[in-house]
């Protein structure tokens, strides 16, 4: 994969994201018709994927004793709502969801904008040191964020940002993957002639960006936005360090819920359900696009 290859060796023959996918399973690879065994195995895997999520509903509706009964209950019931209410009292989940929306939204807007800018420059502009800078971007994909956390914490402590949302927004505002993703898309999706035409018309560089690059890049930007939002929503390590349960994101609130003294599992499960519901709803609506985005990112990355 190009992520690990040296810059310049990556293949750019891959179709751009927005290109209509060939329908049916006929594309490349082997694509025989699936038999009953395949369907059985896939259905089982699908059940395994869904079951733990469904179980939050069930476990969120029953007391410890009920859940341990034989046979255990397999349906949720109305006590789920009482437990949701309890969870909301014991952990600031409402505030957490609001905070998470703010944080993830800001990160998404920033990441998509900055990555499109940089991706465009790496795809279409010539400047000294471009190759070096690009390999720096690719190299950073391998440096885990966990390793910068200590000085980062010292920094935000200095700035008195502990427990404030900008502490989790600013450091996550760019993504190396995003730059690479946008670059790979724009290399093939944006014809040089179009840029030249804009230049000939005397459009300023930023005018060209807004009027030519952004419209072409829009499909890839949408994919990047979805993936970024999902990642930002689920970000765990840094928010746990930078924030407290007094001003949490969803994940920090969930960590507090799990580690606090909550006698009833049902309340923890109800809280978990609350914190997961927003992403699951988004995922149900945009799942197909997210799947497509990940698969395209994979071929490119």
């Amino acid at each position: 994969m190009a992520t690990l290859a040296l810059p310049g060796t990556e293949t750019t023959a891959v179709s751009p994201v927005g290109r209509p996918a060939r329908r049916g399973g006929g594309k490349g690879g082997k694509s025989g018709k699936a038999g009953p065994v395949t369907y059985t195995l896939l259905t089982l895997s699908a059940l395994v994927s869904i079951f733990p999520l469904y179980w939050t509903l069930v476990a969120g509706s029953h007391t410890n004793a009920e859940i341990a009964g034989t046979p255990p209950p397999f349906l949720p019931n109305a006590s789920l709502f009482d437990n949701v209410k309890l969870a909301l009292e014991q952990a600031p989940i409402g505030k957490a969801i609001l905070n998470s929306i703010l944080v993830s939204g800001a990160i998404t807007v920033g990441t998509v904008l900055f990555c499109t800018l940089a991706g465009f420059a790496f795809a279409k502009l010539q400047f000294r040191g471009k190759g070096l800078l690009l390999s720096l971007v690719i190299g950073t994909m391998m440096v885990p964020t966990q390793l910068s956390v200590i000085p980062l914490f010292m920094m935000i402590a200095d700035l008195q940002w502990v427990n404030q949302l900008q502490a989790v927004i600013l450091p996550t505002l760019v993504s190396a993957f995003g730059v690479f993703f946008m670059r790979q898309f724009l290399i093939s999706a944006l014809p040089n002639e179009l840029l030249e035409a804009g230049r000939v018309d005397g459009a300023s560089t930023f005018r060209i960006f807004w009027s030519i690059v952004v419209p072409v890049a829009r499909p890839a930007m949408a994919v990047l936005a979805m993936l970024t939002f999902l990642t930002a929503w689920n970000e765990f390590f840094w928010p746990l360090i930078a924030l407290t349960t007094a001003n949490p994101t969803v994940q920090v609130a969930l960590a507090g819920l799990g580690s606090g003294y909550v006698p009833q599992q049902a309340v923890i499960m109800a809280g978990t359900l609350l914190g997961t519901l927003p992403v699951l709803v988004v995922f149900t609506i945009l799942g197909k696009q997210i799947v497509g985005g990940i698969m395209q990112g994979a071929v490119k990355g």
Partner: protein, 328 residues
């Protein structure tokens, strides 16, 4: 893909309309001006500013901190101690315990995960009814956060009220105190990781499988290769770079494993179980820094993790290169 209503091709047609129509001039003269300009720096500047301030600088500064005795309270300075933190780390049984656990949990989580992902991708590559449904459902664990997934699995693996123990008992087996045992807790944590990532990796493999040219399979079929032979001799070799990529990414993830062991016991301790039976390097770093308030020591652990990752990536790159050469 139907990502946005506007395909790039449509965009190409509409975009120039937004610009003022201009007299046609010869673009050749202008070409040099367009492609060679300094504006590139302006475009990449925001990325590198944020990246430099919040990633590169802290990353390098971690090395500096690791050479100091620094606690959370004297966060600006600390005392220079040279390599003492590193010496302490190498002599610390906690470090070796965490390193060992990280390795075993990493293997338990990565190997089955990638094998299953490969199998799933193979299945998903058939002509299927409900393709989108299966793909989307298998990605749902990936969309679930670490915290949520761990809390649910902690319930499922619970000693007294967990569904898994209920199931074990109903078929006449012993209940297991999953959290207390070394192997059982590590297996349980590996299950959480596997659950979250298998579908994601399956989609990555599927994407790569779909770009394998069909002629390769046709040729294999003419040679009389069975489905299984084709999978072994066409699919797997074509996927080798992708497999290498997922191995590296999963391993990097495994080295940093943190949230699952932190939340698995459900009491928020950073020790990774009563005897540290599922303490990982990531958790150890957090414990040193934010429970024991010894930032310098935590930075040392962070650098140790980074070195481990470097070695892993290096070995994998080497294997990849050797393999590629052997193929040629």
């Amino acid at each position: 893909m139907t990502i946005a209503s506007q395909s790039p091709r449509e965009a190409l047609i509409t975009a120039p309309a937004a610009l003022s129509p201009a007299p046609a001039r010869t673009p050749a003269r202008r070409r040099t001006k367009l492609t060679r300009n300094r504006w590139g720096y302006a475009y990449v500047a925001p990325f590198f500013l944020v990246f430099g301030a919040f990633s590169l600088y802290p990353f390098l500064y971690t090395a500096w901190v690791s050479l100091h005795r620094t606690s959370l309270s004297d966060i600006d300075g600390g005392t220079w101690v040279g390599l003492e933190n590193y010496r302490n780390l190498l002599q610390s049984e906690f470090f070796w315990n965490a390193a060992r656990n990280t390795l075993t949990i990493g293997v338990l989580a990565t190997v089955p995960q990638l094998c299953m992902a490969l199998g799933l991708a193979h299945l998903l590559n058939y002509k299927l009814r409900g393709r989108t449904f299966f793909r989307t459902v298998m990605l749902m664990p990936y969309a679930t956060s670490i915290a949520a997934a761990t809390l649910v699995f902690a319930q499922l693996f619970g000693r007294d009220y967990g569904l898994i123990n209920t199931a074990l008992q109903s078929v006449g087996l012993e209940r297991i105190d999953w959290e207390a045992g070394t192997w059982s807790s590590q297996v349980a944590i590996a299950v959480i990781v596997t659950w979250r990532w298998t579908g994601y990796n399956a989609l990555i493999y599927l994407a790569a499988m779909q770009s394998i040219p069909g002629e390769l399979y046709e040729a294999a079929e003419i040679d009389g290769a069975s489905r299984w032979k084709q999978f072994l001799h066409v699919t797997i070799p074509s996927l080798r770079p992708t497999i290498l990529f997922t191995v590296v990414v999963s391993t990097i993830g495994a080295v940093q494993l943190f949230g699952e062991p932190l939340l698995f016991a459900g009491n928020g301790t950073t020790s990774g179980g009563s005897s540290g039976q599922y303490q990982t390097l990531g958790l150890l770093m957090y414990q040193q820094g934010w429970s024991n308030f010894h930032i310098g020591q935590a930075a040392t652990t962070a650098w140790a993790m980074f070195l481990i990752i470097l070695v892993i990536v290096g070995v994998n790159a080497l294997i990849g290169r050797l393999r590629a050469r052997a193929d040629r």
